[in-house]
Amino acid sequence: MIDISESVMQILLALIVVGPLIGAAAALLPAPPGLKGKSPEQAVLRHGVTVTGVVLIAAIVLALGFDHDHPSKMQATTDISWIPALDVRIHLGVDGISLPLLVLTALLTFLCALYSYFKMPAGPTPKAFVALLLVLESGTLATFAVLDLLLFFLAFETVLVPMYFLIARWGGAQRQAAAWKFILFTLLGSVVMLLGLLLIGIKAGTFDMVALATDNGRSLSTSVQVTAVLAIGIGLAVKTPMWPLHSWLPDAHTAAPTVGSVLLAGVMLKMGTYGFVRILLPVTPDGFRTFAPYLAAFAVVGIIYGSLACLALAKRGAKGDLKRLIAYSSVGHMGFVLLGISTMDATGVNGALFANIAHGLITGLLFFLVGALKDRTGTTDLDTLAEESGAALYGKAPRLGGLLAFAAVASLGLPGLAGFWGEMLAMFGAFEPAAGLNRSAYLTFMTIAAFGTLLTAAYMLIVVRRVCMGATPRETPELLDVQTYEFAAWTPLVALTVVAGLWPRALLGLTDPAVQQLLAGGTR
């Protein structure tokens, strides 16, 4: 949109990846004179807001400077040799697929830092909190920006330790067990993924994603591709998470502090699906075609399973936890994303990428809202909240109730909001999957997925009814309604949900050419 020279774009992208790391190191040092603030705690939290803010601005400028006429072209590329022995290159770049995810990550992390500035989660010093948050941001951004398989693995691993500590130190009940489950599951997956990445790199002679994508699997025999897809797919599927490898997610979400949940659902799950699109689809098409129907089957099982689990949790007397419920709903939503990817068809993959972003916005918002609810009422247990008649949020805190209803409705895929397009397109892709895939199987998957949307609507509406509606007894105290800082943190998410819902072209225009290119034989 605006013309920025290539070298500035390179610097911007490098800043986006490295900036948070430097910020994390700086957070551990004592504040310099003049920036001491009211207290050391306040100073370091403000530091977090500043750094994530700068990164967000850089990401927005990058998005503005991005050549929107050629989103399939890798832009702002840097390519420096780092470890010649392993053939690892610092190869960075963005295209229409990674740009939205990059901006989403920068945005959500900034909102989390802003939210924490006013509402620091209970736990040890904010110093470590900010440092870990920034390392997490760096790892996530790097995952979306790197174009080298081993660097991708490095970035993928970088997020593990910070997230472990965020859950284990600043989390709620059962946090230790949940944090362990999170890190051991994901590490097991990612080490297996490493084996697959190495197999590709060794057999093809390069770790460069662009070169590999352009090659489109021609230099890899089918058996190598099948093995590699299996290994890499397991690693990515754990992260996504795909049923039945999802069991770490509900625990991690339930125990994580609010910002941890927001980042986990909002951006970290996307690292898995992004890997499917960026690596498996273009690099190992034959291998992926072998597994695509299975992936689709697991995806729809996930959709139905997630919805049923949510329905069970939403029932009266089930002692369902709201955070756990949203976590299960994530399993369902990510099922749609996986279904879209498994079609190997431009429509489906576009839908998947759209659903990715939409899920990041909506679920991020939902976790923020539930976190706020927990701060006010001290619980996320649905039964405790709703008691006999319902929590009556509309009466006690109308704005909070309204926002929660908005997020729930967006999550169930109401047309006109972000949640709709991605899932619609994913199913549409399943209606006509790529050549070579069994169409009747995909038609069945599509039907089941459509049924899943009904279930999703059902549990989301039950949640709204139980939390937002109900009679307000006179003697109960009013709940604190939405505060200014909360408005500041949530408004961007609400606005983007509406914009993406009403103007999907903004996003699809970016992803579609890139996806076409990717399916046809790599990025250029």
């Binding site: 780092w82 470890i83 010649p84 022995a85 392993l86 690892v88 040890p124 470590a128 390392v135 790892g139 081993l150 693995f153 490095l154 691993e157 970088t158 593990l160 330790v161 472990y164 500590f165 284990a168 130190r169 362990w180 890190i183 051991l184 590490l187 097991l188 080490v191 297996v192 490493l194 084996l195 190495l198 197999l199 790199g201 060794i202 093995t227």
Partner: protein, 499 residues
């Protein structure tokens, strides 16, 4: 007529020789130095080790050889090639760091330990360990192995009047001597079938062994490997490790975990890759199985350590070093299957260098904590961050390097090279076993790391860290950080010509 006196390339053999000479000087000087000035001995030894490490610099070219057969200049007993130099750097650098730890340990022991003997033994063992990778005939190899090991037995048992120390030394001694004896028998079998002790000649000769002697040669190969597998602490030759580490003075445990292992794996490499490449179908599967067993049993052993048991920190490091030995063996096993054995061996070297730096660093911090809590339980590390933030951060970094997770980037990439050697050689199953082990290892490493940053139980006290200990910690931490930024520095060994 050629001269009977061999011309010796003194520069080539300078590194191990200097270490040995300084050892003797220290032993003699001990007689003439008063009790109050014993520290001079320590600093002399540190300087000696540093100097012998520096003497590797002029050898960089990596093309020197000496003690060659008259008439056949390509058959030498001592070769200073790329492989030798890297292992010597590891051994001498490791010994230097151990010496820094020892300076403090001896000072704290307050003349409980005999200083002159201690330094003499340490330097002799280091000299033997530095000689070993350069030896290219079986006799020199065994002699070097013994020169490296015998002083180590004495060092383990050097705590006078400490029952645990003597018991550890005896255990170590008996099992080690048995292993060496078995090894010698293997050597004799190999000699019997090939008629030569030179590794390169064995490589040729063993291909033309008479059919009748085939079994003998194979038995010889396997038996020879036993002695080195023992030094590497590969399962099932690992049982001496935990008790020996606990019984020995802490710097000696660190020494065994790094230099002892270097001795073992460089011997294995020489015997397998240099001497017996044609028997790859015998030692390849054997080493692969050994690697899988070693890492699994080591990691499970480490996992079982209870954090409140006495000396559990050292025990955990001991078991984890067994696990790490398993990773070191993977590329050697892969060399049997790969077309490019050198590349695989280079991965082992890169991994060993990474491991040496961070493991010695972890031991250095452990030595620091041991000054405060002599029982050295893992639970004593709780809240270390509150007490001394830098050493906690550094220890956390070392542990994550050992686990192979960012921010320990070098640990991650060292593991990646090992994995890639295995995948390259088609040892998929071994790579998967290793993958599972990496996850198991993460559990205990991260558990320890997490403990460092918990709220301390009591009031945090402040302790001044002695200068030599600080130097060792700073040195290893700087190495770890620099290597994390530029892993190429050590990973390049996987693509250079080693032999």
């Amino acid at each position: 007529m050629s001269s009977l006196v061999q011309s010796v390339d003194w520069l080539a053999i300078a590194p191990p020789t200097l270490a040995a000479v300084v050892g003797l000087v220290v032993l003699v000087a001990d007689l003439f130095i008063g009790d109050t000035r014993k520290a001079v001995l320590g600093w002399t030894s540190v300087a000696g080790l540093a100097a012998s490490a520096l003497l590797l610099l002029p050898l960089r070219g990596g093309d020197r050889a000496t003690f060659c057969l008259t008439g056949a200049t390509d058959t030498c007993s001592y070769v200073a090639d790329g492989f030798t130099l890297v292992v010597q750097l590891l051994v001498l650098g490791g010994a230097l760091l151990v010496a820094l730890l020892s300076v403090t340990a001896l000072k704290d022991a307050d003349r409980e330990l005999p200083e002159g003997e201690y330094w003499f033994l340490l330097l002799s063992s280091a000299a033997g360990a530095a000689l070993l990778p350069a030896s290219r005939d079986l006799a020199t190899l065994i002699v070097a192995l013994e020169v490296a090991s015998l002083p180590a037995f004495a060092l383990v048992g050097i705590k006078r009047g400490d029952k645990k120390s003597s018991e550890a030394a005896l255990k170590f001694f008996l099992s080690s001597v048995t292993a060496t004896a078995v090894s010698l028998m293997g050597v004799s079998f190999v000699y019997a079938t090939t008629g030569t002790l030179y590794l390169t000649r064995i490589a040729d000769g063993i291909q033309h062994v008479d059919g009748q002697f085939h079994t003998l040669a194979q038995t010889g190969v396997v038996l020879t490997l036993v002695g080195f597998a023992f030094k590497t602490a590969a399962v099932p030759f690992h049982f001496w490790v935990p008790d020996t580490y606990v019984g020995a003075p802490l710097p000696i445990a660190a020494y065994l975990s790094v230099v002892g292992k270097a001795v073992g794996f460089s011997g294995l490499v020489l015997v397998t890759v240099v001497a017996l490449p044609s028997y790859a179908d015998v030692w390849g599967p054997a080493l692969a199985a050994l690697a899988a067993l070693t890492m699994t049993i080591g990691n499970v052993g480490a996992l079982r350590q209870r954090s409140t048991r006495a000396y559990s920190a050292v025990r955990l490091l001991a078991w984890s070093s067994v696990g790490q030995a398993g990773y070191l063996l993977v590329p050697i096993a892969a060399a049997a299957y790969s077309d490019d054995a050198q590349q695989a061996i280079g991965s082992t070297l890169a991994y060993a260098l990474m491991y040496a730096a961070v493991n010695l660093g972890a031991f250095a911090v452990a030595a620091l904590v041991a000054r405060r809590s002599p029982l050295n339980r893992i639970s004593d590390y709780r809240g270390l961050y509150a007490e001394s933030p830098l050493s906690a951060l550094v220890l956390g970094f070392f542990l994550l390097c050992l686990a192979g997770l960012p921010p320990g980037v070098i640990g991650l990439f060292a593991k990646v090279t090992v994995f890639s050697a295995a995948v390259d050689a088609g040892l998929g199953w071994l790579a998967v076993v290793m993958a599972v082990n990496v996850v198991i290892a993460l559990f205990y490493y991260l558990q320890w790391t997490a403990l460092l940053f918990r709220a301390p139980e009591g009031e945090p006290g402040t302790h001044r860290a002695p200068a030599p200990l600080t130097a060792a910690i700073v040195l290893t931490a700087a190495l770890g950080v620099v290597l994390s930024g530029a892993p190429q520095l050590i990973l390049r060994f996987s693509e250079t010509v080693l032999f």
